[in-house]
Symmetry: C2
Subunit: 303 residues, 2 copies
């Protein structure tokens, strides 16, 4: 089960109701962040999430509204005597920005930070590949280098109990553990092939499209996502403003969702100009009906 909690849903300027961009993702023991805007640590605290458990932070790009919560989070981790390594991922420039960030205030560094600068070109690149999950990065087109990310909970091999019962007459036995690990087994002289006695549940996929202009082919990065989280800074009421600032409108995001065949679309990163999000919601729903608009502390689940 992938849990998603929005910690900040504003764009460049935070508002009373919306902090800067930050999305918390929990999948089993894995706690990660997609972006880490200013006041991320306080938002986590309000949401009842321990900042200490975060092991990987993926920065889409180095505009302050997506990254300025990193320093405070790192300071609090250090003050809390963290010893586990923290992994930070981000586009071209990440090493330089992290170098300066870690020298921009005074704290006792007590744990290792591994900085991973990634430069995905044209297609999605798998940058984390664990047994239970993977993360992929893909290139977006913003004013500065920017990545989108996909979090993929890998499908699990399950035993087809009916099939096994038919073959060897049992439904419980320690040897079935081997089957689940994909090994063929033999019991009472009868062989059971893992390929026939097991099946794999489908992957679950969460895709995050951060700040970007719309471009041809962008939908391929969101293909078949269970949830697509997409920035939608503006509704269509702003004329050419979205292109000018390299952002998506709600209609752009809805078109991507539709073209990619995603199950659900969640919009975020709203301009401060909207005290009501109705124009954004209306524009999106005309094109793609399964849309939600994120508020700070909203929680979604891919079960």
């Amino acid at each position: 089960m992938i849990e998603v909690i929005f910690l900040g849903t504003s764009s460049m300027f935070p508002t009373e109701k919306r902090a800067h961009s930050s999305i918390f993702i929990r999948d089993g023991p894995e706690n990660i962040l997609f972006d880490c805007g200013e006041s991320c640590q306080r938002q986590m605290r309000i949401a009842g999430i321990s900042p200490m458990k975060v092991n990987r932070i993926f920065i889409s790009h180095w505009h302050g509204d997506h990254a300025l919560g990193l320093s405070g989070l790192i300071q609090s981790m250090a003050a809390n005597k963290r010893s586990e390594k923290l992994q930070v991922y981000g586009p071209k420039g990440t090493e330089k920005f992290m170098y300066h960030l870690l020298r921009s205030f005074s704290f006792d560094m007590r744990f290792k930070i591994e900085v991973n600068e990634i430069t995905p070109k044209g297609k999605s690149h798998r940058i984390v590949d664990e047994d239970a999950f993977a993360v992929e990065a893909f290139p977006l087109r913003h004013i500065i280098p920017c990545c989108g990310y996909s979090f993929i909970e890998k499908g699990k091999r399950k035993i087809d109990i009916e099939y096994v019962k038919k073959q060897i007459g049992i439904t419980q036995h320690p040897i079935l553990g081997d089957l689940q690990r994909g090994k063929n087994i033999t019991l009472n002289g009868k062989k059971v092939l893992a390929s026939k006695a097991t099946f794999t549940t489908p992957d679950k996929k969460l895709v995050y499209i951060a700040d970007t202009s719309y471009f041809k082919g962008i939908e391929k990065f969101a293909k078949d996502a269970d949830i697509l989280i997409s920035e939608a800074t503006y509704a269509s009421d702003v004329g050419g403003r979205a292109e000018e600032y390299s952002h998506l409108t709600a209609a752009d995001s809805a078109k991507i969702a539709k073209d990619a065949g995603v199950k659900n679309l969640i919009l975020t990163h709203f301009s401060q100009r909207y005290t009501s999000l109705k124009p954004i919601e209306d524009d999106a729903k005309k094109i793609f009906p399964h849309v939600a608009l994120a508020n700070d502390f909203d929680k979604f689940v891919i079960a």
Copy 2:
């Protein structure tokens, strides 16, 4: 009139109710900050204060909880096309920290930032001296270099109208403007000395004691303040913890207030361990009765 608005009143770890340290001070056209903790710009927005108007920021020390709001504030100023110079003041290390801070994220720098590194030794140093106000810095004793600051609204020269009437029989005349500027005047052959016909209202003084151990003589920096704002991270219930982490207890702050003869004491920078501040309030009131405990967005005025 000096207005003081608390934007953050937590210590190292922010809480649901308390953001990191930041104090906004307005005196006529002057808008300044004493410290600038993370999420300062959002707190200003919630308080209805324009971040654009801030011209001077005084950092007590470079622990993150006192300085990590600077980047976001600077980014928003730049995004809002600010052109006025911003002055940043802080203790030894400020130039280095600012150098790295301004390189730790991507933004279009559109205005000048003047960094003033100050090293007050032993006594209070006047670091800003304008017609209407002054700011002094004084040394504190923390884990890293740390300054306290005083904001002084200078007394204004007023005309003693009764005296003038007695001398030259008038109460209104353009020439009285000269008197107010401290010049002697002559009207109808009669001379009036500014030194006799005018008086100066007392200065108003706001003193900020940031993170520090208690030390002998610290009270001299708060002498005769109208308001002393002092950190009081702990009550006396924490044993030697205050000394260990170089902080003041509520009793320390109250003793300073009493010894300095201040009019009012406001405590801030509370440890997250206190869900109720009663232990801090009780400890302080035993020693100094005119004490208030700051909450985020509390406003005080020296009229």
